[in-house]
């Protein structure tokens, strides 16, 4: 397996390599066939129905050297991730991180999180939930469902820095 990385520092790099190895593995040993190349920038999918928030989170992530794709709702996000299709056997996630708003029309960020965790291909991708409302039951519900972090909006640069740090800590 070839992995070329030149970004952040080695601890976080190892974290993402392990993530991708886990995704390729599962029960059998199919990871041998999975050639994964991490470029210079992690690819983040940002999901938010608010146009201004999408622009803001995109800039924050780009300022932290991330490649960013945005989606305006959960269904579009699922389509992009390939969960609209029947099988994703052997496929590798297009993204290294998903950050989603909680309150969205149609499918909420929580429901999106559940769909991602149900997918054998995507369940190892870290998911971060954002919300403008500080509701403890909401926060614990998301964390219990497997969200890596819960962040309060409006997002600031320090939040994105903390996100990176937290992901590094969580790798163990």
């Amino acid at each position: 397996m070839f992995v070329y990385v030149k970004w952040w520092d080695s601890t976080l790099v190892l974290f993402f390599i392990r993530l991708l190895l886990n995704m390729g593995g599962g029960g059998g040993d199919s990871s041998e066939d999975t050639a994964v190349e991490l470029g210079d920038e992690p690819h983040v999918l940002a999901v938010d129905d608010n146009l201004i928030d999408r622009k803001l989170v995109e800039k924050l992530l780009k300022n932290s050297s991330c490649k960013v794709t945005t989606a305006e709702n959960a269904l579009r996000a699922l389509d992009y991730l390939g969960l609209g299709n029947e099988t994703l056997e052997g496929a590798v996630s297009k993204v290294n991180l998903i950050i989603t708003d909680y309150c969205m029309p149609g499918m909420t960020g929580y429901e999106l999180l559940k769909k991602i965790k149900e997918s054998s291909v995507l369940k190892e991708v870290p998911v971060v939930i954002m919300s403008s409302e500080n509701i403890p039951t909401r926060i614990s519900q998301c964390l219990e469902e497997g969200a890596k972090m819960f962040m309060l909006k409006p997002l600031k640069q320090s939040d994105v820095k903390q996100l990176k740090w937290h992901l590094m800590k969580c790798r163990n």
Binding site: D49, N50, I52, L60, P154, Q157
Partner: protein, 149 residues
């Protein structure tokens, strides 16, 4: 007016906007995100905010004119407006939205109508002020100066 005076005027004006609660630290965050790669970031985001807010205010007016008001719909629009105003640091608009949402929850028509009026007013104030501030910035840039932080 010379460049130094313009720059001083901008700093004073900006400070007053924070002091009077029109803007909060989130606006500073926006300014800090602007860089050489995106020199118009703040203007772009604020322009989006203006467009989006105007759309929402129209939707709110329509929704509150209905015979039978759909408060969930009204609340959804206010939630959006609250979110965007918060994200750009338009503090006074955000504060009215908070009160507005409470009235939606209570299904209080009068309260909602009052808040709609207030939020229109606060929005129009912050829009005028931001546009004046951007104009000052433009004058400084045109005079060959740089925007003081």
């Amino acid at each position: 007016m010379d460049l130094v005076q313009l720059q001083r005027q901008l700093v004073e004006y900006r400070t007053s906007l924070y002091h009077e609660g029109f803007l909060d630290e989130q606006f500073t965050q926006l300014q800090e995100l602007q860089d050489e790669n995106n020199p118009d970031f703040v203007v772009e985001v604020v322009s989006l905010f203006f467009e989006d807010s105007e759309r929402l205010l129209n939707e709110l007016t329509k929704a509150l004119e209905q015979q039978s008001i759909d408060f969930k719909r009204v609340d959804a629009h206010v939630h959006q407006l609250k979110g965007s105003s918060s994200s750009i640091g338009a503090q006074r608009v955000q504060k009215v939205c908070i009160a507005f949402r409470n009235y939606c929850e209570e299904q209080n028509v009068e309260g909602c109508l009052k808040c709609l009026q207030q939020v229109r007013h606060e929005y129009s104030l912050v829009k005028t002020k931001l546009e004046s501030m951007f104009q000052l910035e433009q004058q400084i840039l045109s005079a060959g100066g740089s925007i003081p932080m």
